[in-house]
Symmetry: C5
Subunit: 166 residues, 5 copies
């Protein structure tokens, strides 16, 4: 039987090759016989939803939708539109589409400029974290339950879990 | 005949194991022969809609979708996107998906820091309140009508009901 | 033949028993042989869309969805999400779902507190006005056309109609 | 063969009888054998989407959805929800639903009051402009292409077209 | 076999004939035997989603939806609604609808006025860039992957790509 397929969609707008980072990380933790991969690239993050829907219709087990919103206020508002498109695909199909967005504003230095080293490192870390989640969700969903409520972050340090008295 | 199934979905992002709190409370008030339960965990609250749709398609009677938005403005905006995803699932399927969100900002102390004890207590109370609602909605919908307009809150004190002259 | 059914959905969150007000008014202006009624209650206004969709699928002629957003900014934002859910149901099904929302902020007195008498009176008036609209829309749609552009309000005084020269 | 049908939906909330203005203008430029018309009236603009969807399902060639948002901030936010409902109907069905909204705030005079003469004139002009567009879109779509990029406005003066060097 | 069809939809509201620019550029880079084209014009950008859905249902391989939001705050909010309509079409159909929006505010000069030369040049460049993307996406999707993460912009200078250490 063919293994489940993870599809990665990224953009030509982003300044970092996010799709490659995701695919490399998947290759490190899952063999091609366990998990097949496919990749598509679109112009910008508003173009992610169409491809996500298309590959889900073709049988994708999960989709990683990668984008890098720019630093202007209009970019954030557009990111909201794009995000809604991804929510739509998920609500319509029941297939998970992980939104892997790295906001340029997350890497602004003291002078108000984008620190490219910080952006690259953040991007690498977030893409790898989401790749790990995608693999876990498809191949070992019980492992996700074991991590519930543990303050996990993708791209920054995890928060501490807070115990609740019974 | 198999009993109706309540499905709980929570996140690895949350700092509290919300799914366990919900399941414990359900276990206290409904027997497994009355109500079956299932649990899934996703990375963050934007990933709840896909699983909600999937389990509804598989026959879930009701879904509890648990999340914990962080304290940044972007977290609130993302929570709005996630919430819209849950509205979509409900409008598309006609099955209730209770949104059990605890906002980190609800537990900020005088110094602007998250008070973890307050957050844990709030989380426990809200999760338990929504668990009770879910059970009532599935097993005793008439009891819901009996509580209409009575100012019920989940996670804080109820408001007082205001009578209306006929 | 069975008469058309009006379904009223309200919440346990509201501080006023809105569903009862609506049903009383319907009972005053339409006989049960003309118009059947059904009632459901959900926890909060974000839970209205699921029930609205469900009863439309079961044949409801029209739905009144009653809610009472609280006074916090987050309440308004949540009301927007709920409203979108109701738009979705209507766009998907072509059945009218009247949004009967009374905002707590509409009844704030000079000291910034909720005036409960004002809130109760406003609530009664709005619920009754929408009940009248629902009956008119189902039993006498031509009467709606006769009222087009006449500045009608539900819960406050009507505005004056402005004539247009031909 | 029956001519295509234009459906006009307006509201009892509006202070101007927008549906009549639209229908009069259609009557001036298209004969009933070319274009049939139908009219419905709903309480407010949030109720437009349901009727729009219903008449599209019944074969409407195009819909004009008329509304008049009031002057409060909440009115603008509600107008956004209503607008989304109309986008939904169009995206779901592929049938055009022209949004004919006249905002009360477009007719505020220097003292912050609504100038009713200005509002009536604006309303008449916008309704007539959209009626003309609807007729053109159904009976002569090529004429629309001939007007592409020419700065057309409905309800105010057209802007000037800006030529682009090849 | 018939070639795939690119459909261009633009508006009479825009002050520049965007559809013609797009079609000219497509004609320069793809022959009619490789790629067929069709064109429609609607009144404003809120009318794009209906036509996009219609042509996708009729077999369009990709759609370019061109619009020019005006300079008022309400224009930006309407652009958000329009954008959501386009997201909906894509999430529902899985066919790409490229949003080619040129905001009038992108061409404001130091005196707060629209610089028409700047607007025309920007419009030309953005329309041509998106036309190139549409052709690439239909005829050579692998070329899109080759451009992933390279900071491409349509209508302004590309950003620099940021390499990531393995």
């Amino acid at each position: 039987m063919a293994p489940p397929t993870v599809v990665v969609v990224d953009t030509t707008f982003a300044r970092v090759d996010m799709g490659t980072i995701v695919l490399q990380r998947i290759g490190e933790i899952a063999s091609p016989s366990e998990l097949a991969t496919q990749r598509f690239t679109v112009p910008g993050f508003k173009d992610l939803a169409a491809v996500a829907r298309r590959v889900v219709d073709q049988g994708a087990a999960i989709v990683l939708a990668c984008g890098m919103p720019g630093p202007e206020p209009i970019d954030e508002s557009c990111a909201g539109d794009a995000s809604l498109g991804l929510q739509l695909v998920q609500a319509l199909t029941g297939t998970s589409v992980l939104e892997v967005f790295v906001h340029t504003t997350e890497a602004i230095d003291g002078d108000g400029r984008v620190d490219e080293d910080v952006l690259a490192a953040l991007c690498r870390r977030r893409c790898r974290g989401h790749a790990e989640n995608a693999v876990r969700m498809v191949l070992d969903p019980a492992a996700m339950v074991g991590r519930a409520g543990t303050g996990r972050r993708q791209g920054s340090d995890d928060e501490e879990a807070i115990p609740v008295r019974r």
